[in-house]
Amino acid sequence: MSLAVRLRGISKRFGAVRALESVDLDVEAGTLHALVGENGAGKTTLMRVLYGAIQPDAGSIEVEGRARRFRSSREAIEAGIGMVSQHYSILPQLTCLQNLMLGAEPGAWIAEGAAVARAEELAARMGFRFDWHADASTLSPAGAQKLEILKLLWRSARILILDEPTAMLSPADSDALFESLAQLRSEGATVILVTHRLPEVMDHAERVTVLRGGRRVASMPVADTDARGLAELIVGHTLERASAEPPGSLGEELLAVQGLVVAGYRGDDAVRGADLAVRAGEIVGIAGVDGSGQRELFQAVLGVARAKAGVVRLFGEDASKWPPSRRLEAGLRLIPEDRHEEGVIDEWPLLENAALGLQRVPPLRRGGGLDPGVQRDVAERAARAFDTKHGGLRLPMASLSGGNQQRFVAGRALQLGPRLLLAFQPARGLDIEATRRVYDAIRTLCREGGAAALVVSFDLDELLEHCDRLVAMRSGRIFEPPPERAKDRAEIGRLMVGAA
C-alpha cells in the first residue's frame, strides 16, 4: 500500500502554547483515516499544517511520495489536498455554482454552460443534486456540507480533509455523507476525518490516530480497538460512567408550550401545534432528525421567532407576548445552535462576549449601565466553568478554538441565576470529557438549583445518556412516549420516524 500522506516530527508552537510536538502521521492512499482527540489536542492544527494554512516549526511533509513544503493553502491545493473546515466557507449571497467555482474559476471568462455541465457531472458521481442557480442561502446544513465536498472535487483534490463534517448533520445525512465518501475512495481518493464521534470512527474508518496534548499517543487499525478503548486513549485515563441518577420530585412547571405554530423560513409551518411541559429539576431531551422543527421551537421559546398560534408560558406566566429581553431577564438562558452566528461576536473580547444576552440581567445591569466588576466576574466564571483555554479576557473571541468558544458559551449560560436553559447541540465540537462536564453542570443546576433544561441534539445516544426523559419531534409536532418508556431507545426511534 502506498502512502498518500506521510508527516514526520511536525511541531508547532503558538506563543507559549505547544500545539504540536513531533507528531507523525501515515495515511494510506484510498483509505478513510480518522483523527481523534480532545479539544485542543492539536487535530485541527495538524490538518492546517498539512493544508498549508500554518507553517510548522519543524518536521517534514510528504504527499504521494514527494517531499513538500507548502507556503500557502494554494500550494497544498495544487498538490491535490483539500480541506473543509468546521465553519463552512459557503457564501450565502452567491449561487451554488458561484460558490463551487469561487477561487478556482475555469478562466477569466466563465462559460456558464460548460461550468454547469462539469458541476452536474461531479454531483452525479457523488449522487448529489443541486439547483446550481439558487442562492446558497437556501441550502440546509447537509446541502452546504455536500457543496463543500464538491468544491474540493472541483479543485481536483485527491486527499480530502474533513474537520467535524457531521457536527451539523442529522444521522440520516451523516450516513449519506459516509456513503459518498466510500464512493470517492473507490475512485482512489483518500479521506482524513477529524471527529469527536467515535461510532463514526468505528463504522467507517480503516485506521485511527489519537492525539493528546499535541502528541500522537496511538495509531492503529480500527479493527484492533473499540469505542471504549479509543475514548480512554483520548482522555488518557479510565472513564467513569456518567451519573444519571433519576431526579427526585419535580417542582413547578417552568415552561409550557401549548398548540404552538411557528412559520419556517421558507413560508410553510415548521412547528405545527406542539405541546410540551418542562418542570423544575428535570432535563428534557428533544430527539429528532434535523429540520423537524426543533430550531423554530427554540426560537419561539426565546421569542426571536413569532408564534402564529399557541401559547408559551414561562415560569408560570403567559410569556407569549414577551420580547426576548424580558424572557432572558426572567431567567431563560441559551446555548444557541450556531455559536458563530447566534452566540458570540468574534471580534469582541471575551469580557464583552460574557455580557452578551446577560446585559439586562441585574446585577450586571445596574441602572442603565453595565457594572464593570460584575462583568469581569461573569466573564471569569464563564471561562472557568469548563476550563476555556484563553490568552486573556481582553483578547477577541476569534482567538479561541471552536471547542473553547463552545465551552465559554456553555459557561456563560450558567451565569446570573438561570432558571430554564435552552441548549441546542450543547456538545457541538466538544470532546467526551467536556461534553460530560457540560451535562454534569446542567444536571447540578437542575437538581440543586431548581432550574430545568431543554436540550436538542441530533445524537440520540448523547440524549439517552444525559437527559432524564426524551420526547421526539417530527414534522413540527412533539410526541411523548409513555412515562415508563421515556428513555427507551427503540420507542424514541419509532416516534422520531413515525413508524407505527
Partner: protein, 331 residues
C-alpha cells in the same frame, strides 16, 4: 509583511509628489506651504480648528451609525437642514434664547431628516445608503428653494438669508485675535467624550455595538435590534443636524445655497479613518481640517485645491492597508 504597508505609504507619497511636479510646483515647497497654511501661525491654527469643528461633529454622526452597522451617507443632508432650521429660528427669535432654540431646532431637523431612513431600514429592510442619498437630494433642493424664497434676504442678489447679528451667534470661548476657539468646538469635544463613555458603559451603548457587530447574535441576546437601528439612525441625524447648527450659528452667521462644501461627505472619511474608538475622530477630523485649511494657501502657489482630496484619499488607502494587516494577523 510590514513591507506591504511601507510600500503603500511610499507609493502614496510618490503619487502626491508626482501630482505636485505635474502642476509645476516644487514638491517640498508646496508641502511646506501646506503645513504652514494649516499650522504655521496663530491665525492658521484658528482657521484649521474652524474647519475641524463641523468635521468633528459630522464625523461623530457617521461614526455612531457605523457602530450600529448603518452607513449614514445622509449626514450631508441632515447637516444642511440642521443649519437651515437653526438660522430660520434665529431670524425669528434673536438673542441668547434664539441661539438655544435654534440649536435645538437644528438637532430636531437633523433627527427628522434621518427618521424616514431609520424607519425604512428597521421595519421594511430598505437599505439606508439608498434612502439617505435620496434624502440628501431632497434636503439640497428644499433648502435651496427656501433660501431663494421665504428665507431670502431681499437686499441680496444671491440666495442667502440675512446675516445674524452678533448677539444671536454662538460666542467664542477664547478670543485673542487672530487666535480664537469657538464654543462649538468644545461642544463637539464634550459630545465625543460623552459618546465614548455611553458606548462603553451603558446597556444601550452595548446593545448598539452588538447590533452593529453581529445582528443575529444581538437578536438572540435579547437586543431589540429594529428599535436600535431606528434610534441610532435618528441619533446620528440629530448629531448631523447639530453639526449644521453649530457651523451656521458659530461661524457662518447665515444660511445660503451651497452652505456645505461637502462636510457630510468628508465626514465619511473622517469616521472611517477614526477606527473603532470615538477618540480616533480627533486626529482624523484634525487631519481633514488641516488639509482643508492648508490647501487654500497652496492655491496661491498655483496648486489646485483638489490636491487635498488626493492626499486624503491616499491617507484612507494607507490606513485601510494598515488596518487590514492588523485584522489579517489575528487569523
Amino acid at each position: 509583511m510590514r513591507l506591504r504597508v511601507a510600500l503603500v505609504s511610499v507609493a502614496a507619497l510618490l503619487l502626491v509628489v508626482g501630482a505636485l511636479v505635474l502642476s509645476g510646483v516644487p514638491p517640498t515647497e508646496a508641502l511646506a506651504e501646506l503645513a504652514r497654511g494649516a499650522f504655521g501661525s496663530k491665525s492658521a491654527w484658528a482657521g484649521t480648528l474652524r474647519e475641524t469643528t463641523p468635521l468633528l461633529l459630522a464625523g461623530l454622526a457617521v461614526f455612531l451609525a457605523l457602530r450600529a452597522g448603518l452607513f449614514n451617507i445622509g449626514v450631508e443632508g441632515q447637516l444642511v437642514v440642521g443649519a437651515m432650521a437653526s438660522v430660520a429660528v434665529c431670524l425669528a427669535v434673536p438673542g441668547a434664547a434664539g441661539v438655544v432654540l435654534g440649536t435645538l431646532a437644528g438637532v430636531a431637523a437633523g433627527a427628522l431628516w434621518a427618521l424616514p431612513a431609520g424607519l425604512i431600514k428597521a421595519y421594511r429592510n430598505g437599505h439606508e445608503v439608498i434612502t439617505t442619498i435620496m434624502l440628501n437630494g431632497v434636503a439640497n433642493f428644499l433648502s435651496t428653494a427656501l433660501v431663494a424664497g421665504p428665507l431670502k434676504d431681499p437686499s441680496q442678489q444671491s440666495p442667502t438669508t440675512r446675516l445674524l447679528d452678533a448677539s444671536t451667534r454662538i460666542p467664542d470661548l477664547y478670543s485673542a485675535p487672530p487666535f480664537r476657539v469657538n464654543l462649538g468646538l468644545v461642544a463637539g469635544l464634550v459630545l465625543i467624550a460623552a459618546t465614548a463613555w455611553w458606548l462603553r458603559r451603558t446597556v444601550a451603548g452595548f446593545e448598539l455595538r452588538a447590533t452593529g457587530a453581529n445582528l443575529r447574535a444581538a437578536e438572540f441576546a435579547g437586543v431589540p435590534v429594529r428599535r436600535v437601528m431606528l434610534w441610532s439612525m435618528v441619533a446620528s441625524g440629530a448629531i448631523g443636524g447639530l453639526a449644521g447648527a453649530l457651523q451656521a450659528l458659530a461661524y457662518e452667521g447665515r444660511f445660503y445655497a451651497g452652505f456645505s462644501p461637502g462636510y457630510g461627505f468628508d465626514s465619511l472619511g473622517v469616521a472611517i479613518l477614526a477606527g473603532a474608538s470615538p477618540f480616533g475622530l480627533l486626529p482624523s477630523a484634525l487631519a481633514f481640517g488641516a488639509l482643508a485649511k492648508g490647501s487654500t494657501s497652496i492655491q496661491i502657489l498655483g496648486v489646485p485645491k483638489g490636491l487635498s482630496y488626493v492626499i486624503l484619499g491616499l491617507l484612507i488607502v494607507v490606513f485601510a492597508v494598515v488596518r487590514y494587516r492588523r485584522e489579517g494577523a489575528r487569523d
